[in-house]
């Protein structure tokens, strides 16, 4: 009993100590503490480790040039294993270490769990990979920014393209019942209905692997749709588009990143001509992207992994904002992020008032003469 009591006392005291020491540490710091949080071990480590490498490369370069506003940048790397329950501890640890800005987290769930903790401490967070739409769109996380397009960005760009560039008013939305395809289709349906400009004349899921899609094609024909918006992957897309052309149906075909694959063109052949698909913006010709990949190869002797360029860009954007704002105060940083354009491997970007990067994301491609051409 006595032991238990003293244990409680001790932990309470420890909490006080941390609470008191955190602000003291950050105000007395003569370095900029740059946190990196994400999955660095476990089965999703391959998503998180490239971000650590990107941060190391950027920080090393910045410090070699004399730091930011005369201060050196110090990295604080913490693992959250992509688990929300661990991520809260990770965030608390970083805050108690006096972190100024955080690059991370990697997974949407972990990011969501950690954000309120950073928000209370007034710390800016920028994720290279958390794509959950609510993170920015809900407005609940004013300290959150990201350098990757949210999950609904593809549906948004496809819908805008169909409505504004092609001027269609009747659209059939078809999906493959999978997480990815159905998610895309649900967003597309929502955006189409919200726009008020077009009618969703058909909304259905097909069974992947079926031997024949003529029944659904006849249904599309009867619905009078001007375009089919398909959420799913290329095997079903090529079967459906081939069947449409076989049934002499000339309806346009608009789809997602799962279809923007050369196999789609190879398999559907001439039937694929004129089909639209959204895909990530082409960054391979961006000199900064080429340079970042080269730096990675030089230092680590391998090609960079997932979200490397997004992380590299996020690190650049945050350090640039600190430099421009002259402090690490959240409001000053937000203002700098929203007004100052910065050149990064994913393009020249700045941020909207919700935290999504403008200039990052997807483009619409069209199959022309057997190749995807960015429109």
């Amino acid at each position: 009993m006595k032991l238990q009591l003293s244990g409680k006392l001790l932990s309470t005291a420890a909490c006080f100590m941390i609470a008191l020491s955190a602000p003291a540490l950050s105000s007395a710091a003569d370095t900029i503490k740059f946190g990196v949080a994400g999955a660095h071990s476990g089965d999703l480590a391959s998503y998180g480790l490239p971000t650590v490498k990107a941060a190391e490369l950027v920080v090393e370069k910045v410090n070699a040039n004399g730091g930011i506003n005369g201060k050196k940048v110090e990295l604080l790397v913490e693992d959250d294993v992509c688990k929300p329950e661990v991520a809260t501890n990770t965030a608390t640890k970083l805050i108690s270490d006096g972190v100024d800005v955080v690059l991370g987290h990697i997974c949407s769930g972990a990011t969501k769990a950690a954000l309120p903790i950073y928000s209370n401490a007034g710390v800016l967070v920028m994720s290279p990979s958390a794509t959950n739409p609510a993170l920015t769109q809900s407005g609940e996380y004013p300290n959150f920014f990201r350098t990757i397009a949210p999950d609904d960005a593809q549906a948004k760009i496809d819908v805008e393209f169909a409505l504004n560039n092609l001027g269609y008013t009747k659209i059939a939305v078809i999906h493959d019942k999978g997480d990815y395809g159905k998610g895309f289709a649900e967003f597309a349906k929502k955006f189409l209905e919200d726009s008020g400009k077009a009618e969703v004349v058909l909304y259905e899921g097909v069974t992947p692997g079926a031997v024949d899609y003529s029944a659904i094609v006849q249904k599309i024909k009867r619905s009078g749709a001007q375009a089919v918006m398909f959420g799913g992957y290329h095997p079903e897309a090529s079967k459906i588009i081939s069947m449409m052309r076989k049934k002499r149906l000339k309806t346009d075909f608009i789809s997602d990143d799962g279809v923007k694959d050369n196999t789609f063109i190879k398999v559907a052949g001439k039937d694929a001509e004129g089909a639209y698909a959204s895909g990530p913006k082409d960054t391979t010709k961006n000199p900064l992207s080429i340079q970042a990949v080269e730096e990675h190869k030089e230092k680590y002797g391998a090609d960079p992994g997932a979200f490397f360029e997004n992380a590299y860009s996020a690190a650049l954007a945050m350090l640039n904002a600190i430099e421009k704002a002259g402090s690490t105060d959240l409001d000053a940083l937000k203002k700098a992020l929203q007004t100052e354009k910065v050149d990064t491997p994913v393009g020249s970007i700045y941020f909207d008032d919700k935290g999504d990067a403008i200039g990052v994301g997807f483009s619409v491609y069209q199959v022309q003469n057997g190749e995807f051409v960015e429109l």
């Binding site: 019942k177 259905e204 899921g205 097909v206 069974t207 692997g209 079926a210 031997v211 024949d212 003529s214 029944a215 659904i216 006849q218 249904k219 024909k221 009867r222 290329h234 095997p235 090529s238 079967k239 081939s242 076989k246 049934k247 002499r248 149906l249 196999t263 190879k266 398999v267 559907a268 052949g269």
Partner: protein, 300 residues
């Protein structure tokens, strides 16, 4: 009304596709009472063989008809060899084992063949050449029935008639029926049961291979996994029609195809499989032996 006809034709095409595969299931089951789960893989191997042969021949500029015949024959021979070998390796040693053992062996064979093709060929989807051209006389109704639909329909009908004829009126057919009725008795009267079973597997596999070629040409793409889903559906059709019965397999396939097509057309393609399998359950509740299946008498 137009819409009804369109859906009806889609359903018939789908049914004919299922029937080409279901015939093999039902033949093997009729003779040795085994559900040959590797049958879908034989169909897939047939599609791959005809793909390879057709691609090579088209490089040398052979006429289309020659390509279809040679690719079809090559696929039939190659798949038959597989069917024959599978029976010898995976089923014959288990002929006197409990019924469950050859079934598990068949599932194992199916997984083995899928992975073998995955490793030996590719995991990618391959574009299958369009072997059946668009016939000019079909053009006015091409939006309802395509040329490849027509060829599949005709093939299924012809195959069903020939099979029924072979089983009813030829020596080997008589031997097959005898083996199906009572294997021990058939052996006693001098029928080489092993040869009869091998012949069944060879015929079933050749049919699957022809089906593989036509269906792959209709769909336009193949990969190592196509046999699985097609096999499951064809198996369902065979059970629906009464497994073991040749006309039953065709009837079951057509009923399944039409159900799926109308479910998609009038309700939603989300519920296509729900309707198909609900129908299967209903029919099996009221007629456990399937639409045309014979009531099985318990062997004493």
């Amino acid at each position: 009304m137009d819409y009804f006809i369109e859906l009806f034709c889609s359903g018939i095409t789908r049914g004919a596709i299922y029937a080409l595969i279901a015939l093999g299931y039902t033949m093997v089951y009729g003779i040795i009472g085994l559900i040959n789960f590797a049958h879908g893989e034989i169909y897939m191997i047939g599609a791959f063989t005809s793909f390879i042969v057709a691609t090579v021949l088209s490089i040398y500029g052979f006429p289309l008809l020659a390509i279809i015949v040679v690719a079809g024959v090559a696929a039939a021979v190659w798949s038959s060899a597989y069917g024959f070998t599978i029976e010898k390796i995976a089923y014959k040693p288990l002929r006197h084992a409990p019924r469950l053992s050859p079934l598990i062996s068949a599932i194992g064979m199916s997984i083995f063949l899928q992975n073998y093709v995955l490793l030996a060929q590719t995991s990618d989807f391959l574009p299958f050449p369009e072997l059946i051209p668009d016939f000019a006389f079909m053009e006015p109704i091409a939006h309802i029935v395509g040329s490849s639909d027509l060829v599949i329909l005709i093939t299924t009908t012809v195959v069903m008639i020939i099979l029924t004829f072979v089983i009813k009126f030829t020596r080997i057919g008589k031997a097959m029926r005898a083996t199906a009725q009572d294997r021990t008795m058939a052996m006693l009267v001098g029928i080489n049961v092993n040869n009869v079973i091998s012949a069944t597997f060879i015929i079933g596999s050749a049919l699957a291979a022809i089906g593989g070629m036509l269906i792959a040409s209709h769909i336009g793409q193949i990969n190592f996994y196509i046999g699985f889903i097609a096999g499951i559906k064809a198996f369902t059709a065979a059970v629906l029609g009464g497994i073991g019965s040749i006309p039953g397999a065709v009837l079951g396939s057509l009923v399944l195809g039409l159900t799926e097509s109308f479910a998609t057309g009038y309700v939603s393609s989300d519920y296509e499989d729900v309707f198909a399998f609900a129908l299967l359950v209903l029919i099996l509740i009221f007629k456990p032996s399937g639409l045309l299946g014979k009531d099985e008498t318990q062997k004493v």
